[in-house]
């Protein structure tokens, strides 16, 4: 993984020192809360319902075991003993004190981490395919480009006060988009051009929130070396022309929609023509320097183990078999597997991980995965490099930690925002519903029968839980002071991107889990075979059969 040099290190240390000064000026009253707010936001510090929340950047989700141990230390010393993995591959701490935050930033800097631009109207942490570098279907590792974007965007002087926040995602697996690139301000797909050269397909203006859009392709093929100048052109057009009169219309998706993708593209290309082939773009030497950090290393030459994996899935140990089936993905290197560690144990808040779990996982990463792990946008962890031979041993260790739930990609592998329990914006709780769903669908055989289905839940229309792109989406709303839940079906974040549609009237809090249950039961009745995923069945038969089932005994 990328290692800071003295320049990178100096920048994060100077940032921590700068923020210490800003906190001092705030505490002394020299600056107002209004003036302080955008400063703390650019260090990931939000004011939530009960306390400050600090969001720590995990660039493209990649962590070393040393960094994870530091996060455990921070959770224990400055928080209440846990952290929350976010859908943007970051980690959030829910209870830090303002006066402690400069020290937390110092601790983070000591392990090459920071909270720079994890909130605020600036370029946020760049996310990537959680299987980057190890996926079989990847044509190129996107992480060197993510790191180059990280450095280009860190304290970019022109783009620190954009009309609104700005999120970039990158994938190098054109066949299977695991990074939801069509739902970002900019999505980048590494693709092969006509003569075999690699480049980026550039997608702009996707997003969720109160006005969801699937992003539009504005360039089919951008030679890789032009990435930074092209990004600068997009950001420059947005910074000048994005709306600033209404924060709900300030995202780039609204500008792209208002101008039309063709006109937006024209503006970007005109700007780009003036800045391409200038100093902005990365040199071959710099690209080679950064790529060197991501060169696969230390793999042993092992025999192919695909047939062994198949046997383990059907083996005598049912629990292990289910876990291997659902949580182990084939690796590009023979003899290795990609392990998803589910942070979605039944009855627990999705994505919450305790300090002791973090430390234990760090030790396991050292033993089983070359000291590296990945935070996924599904709010799970991935060990990218586990030998097939050691899967059973790793699984036994994870069982002890309550981190071996065999539900990756299944209904209870939910994405869920913090909701009304933590968030000042939320209209409804989401974590208790997630916990109830987890308890309701706790039979792994039943979950397995249902197969691949995604459930995503948000406690308000800001859609932090990505409900628009869940096969099943749940949106918490407030109706005359009571919590209600809209159910939507048919969303998908990937190459077959689609937005879910509301099924009908909202459900009361005590009804929503049953409604999901009836939708799943109906799916099992109407699917053509166990190979037909829920989303495919939904697309084939439409909403009507599910609507009928969901509202069978609904009291509106």
């Amino acid at each position: 993984m990328y290692k800071y040099d003295t320049i990178d290190q100096r920048i994060v240390e100077e940032r921590a020192a700068q923020f210490r000064g800003q906190v001092e000026r705030r505490l002394s009253g020299e600056i107002t809360e209004d003036e302080f707010k955008p400063l703390r936001l650019q260090n990931g510090l939000y004011m939530q319902l009960h306390a400050y929340m600090l969001r720590v950047a995990i660039p493209y989700g990649l962590l070393s075991s040393t960094q994870l141990r530091m996060l455990a230390h921070i959770a224990r010393k400055y928080d209440r003993g846990y952290g929350h993995l976010s859908t943007r591959q970051n980690i959030q701490f829910n209870w830090p004190k303002l006066e402690d935050v400069p020290s937390i930033l110092d601790d983070l800097a000591s392990v090459q981490m920071h909270a720079i631009q994890t909130s605020g109207n600036c370029i946020r942490n760049t996310t990537a395919d959680a299987y980057a570098g190890v996926a079989r279907d990847e044509i190129e590792d996107p992480r060197p480009w993510c790191e180059l974007i990280r450095q280009w965007s860190t304290f970019h002087p022109e783009f620190a006060f954009l009309p609104r926040k700005f999120k970039i995602a990158v994938t190098g697996a054109p066949g299977d988009d695991r990074a939801a690139v069509r739902f970002h301000d900019i999505g980048l797909r590494i693709v092969e051009g006509p003569d075999g050269e690699r480049g980026f397909e550039v997608i702009v203006g996707g997003g969720l929130g109160r006005t969801p859009f699937v992003g539009k392709v504005i360039r089919d093929f951008l030679p890789k070396r032009f990435l930074l100048s092209y990004l600068e052109a997009i950001l420059r057009v947005y910074n000048q022309h994005g709306r600033r009169d209404n924060k709900f219309k300030a995202r780039i998706k609204i500008l792209v929609d208002a101008l039309g993708a063709a006109e937006f593209k024209r503006l970007v290309e005109a700007e780009w023509q003036l800045i391409r082939d200038t100093a902005i773009d990365v040199t071959e030497e710099e690209l080679a320097r950064v790529e060197e950090f991501f060169v696969p290393a230390n793999y042993e030459t092992l025999p192919d183990t695909d047939s062994r994996l198949a046997a383990m899935r059907l083996g005598k140990n049912r629990d292990l078999g289910l876990w291997v089936s659902n949580n182990v993905t084939p690796h590009k290197v023979a003899g290795y597997g990609i392990v998803t560690i589910s942070v979605k144990a039944p009855g627990k808040p999705p994505g919450d991980i305790t300090d002791t779990q973090m430390e234990a996982v760090a030790d396991l990463a050292d033993r089983y995965s070359q000291g590296r792990l990945v935070v996924t946008h599904m709010q799970n962890l991935v060990f990218p490099d586990v030998k097939t031979d050691e899967l059973e041993s790793l699984w036994r260790e994870l069982v002890k930690l309550d981190l071996a739930t065999a539900n990756a990609g299944k209904l209870t592998d939910m994405i869920c925002c913090p909701g009304l329990d933590y968030c000042a914006l939320a209209n409804a709780t989401s974590i208790p519903i997630a916990e109830e769903l987890g308890r309701h669908f706790d039979d792994l055989d039943y979950l397995n029968d249902i197969g691949e289905v995604s459930l995503k839940m948000s406690g308000c229309i800001n859609a932090c839980g990505h409900h628009h792109i869940g096969n099943i989406g749940i949106l918490g709303i407030d109706k005359r002071g009571e919590e209600f839940y809209q159910l939507m079906l048919g969303g998908s974040p990937g190459n077959d991107a689609s937005l879910g549609k509301i099924l009908g009237p909202a459900f009361a809090k005590h009804e929503i889990v049953d409604a999901v249950s009836r939708v799943m039961a109906r799916y099992l009745e109407v699917r053509e075979s166990s190979d037909e995923r829920f989303i495919d069945t939904f697309r084939r038969v439409g909403a009507e059969p599910f609507k009928e089932a969901a509202y069978a005994d609904h009291q509106a």
Binding site: D5, I7, R10, I11, E14, R15, Q18, G21, Q22, E30, I31, E35, P38, L39, N121, Q151, W152, T154, F155, H156, P157, E158, F159, A160, F161, L162, P163, R236, N239, Q240, R244, L274, T278, A279, I280, V282, T283, E285, E286, R289
Partner: protein
């Protein structure tokens, strides 16, 4: 009024005219872009230097044809969260080759000075009531930057061997 210019606290020597006040025969004045367009000949014929004030929605290309007549451009930041002026500064310097004084005015605060200086601003009229002496620290928040901008024309990887 005191301002920061070339990282020193100095008196503002410009007279900033609104659109109604008669133009004095001598002295250095700034006017709105609208007034410059309407009264350009008169303004250029008088003794004294001339400058223009841009609102945040008036972009660099709106003024690019008259740069040779101007000794100062003041760009307004109505709220410090309105970041259009950063692009305006960069384009005036990088694209249109403007070399005279470029001043940030309005809701200008210590914590934005570093970014503004990188985008080509060399003078700063801070928001009322701000401590200018302390604000000077803002230029030194960071000793190194990754990107090319109006101050340092090469990104880090073209400046140093990493």
């Amino acid at each position: 009024m005191q301002i920061i210019r070339h990282r020193e606290i100095v008196a503002d020597t410009w007279l900033h005219l609104d659109d109604e006040t008669p133009v004095p025969d001598a002295g250095d004045v700034t006017v709105s872009l609208e007034r410059l367009r309407a009264e350009g000949e008169v303004l250029l014929a008088r003794r004294g230097a001339l400058g223009v004030r841009l609102r945040s929605d008036q972009l660099a290309h709106d003024v690019s044809d008259v740069l040779q007549d101007l000794d100062i451009i003041c760009v307004e930041f109505p709220k410090f969260t309105d970041g259009r002026g950063y692009t305006t500064g960069r384009l005036l310097r990088d694209r249109y080759g403007y070399t005279k004084e470029l001043r940030a005015v309005g809701h200008v605060l210590q914590d934005q000075l570093f970014y503004m200086a990188r985008c080509g601003y060399d003078s700063f009229a801070l928001a009322p009531g701000k401590n200018l002496e302390r604000a000077l620290d803002g230029f030194a928040d960071f000793s190194v930057s990754y990107q090319a901008a109006a101050d340092v024309r090469q990104p880090i990887f073209r400046r140093v061997s990493r």
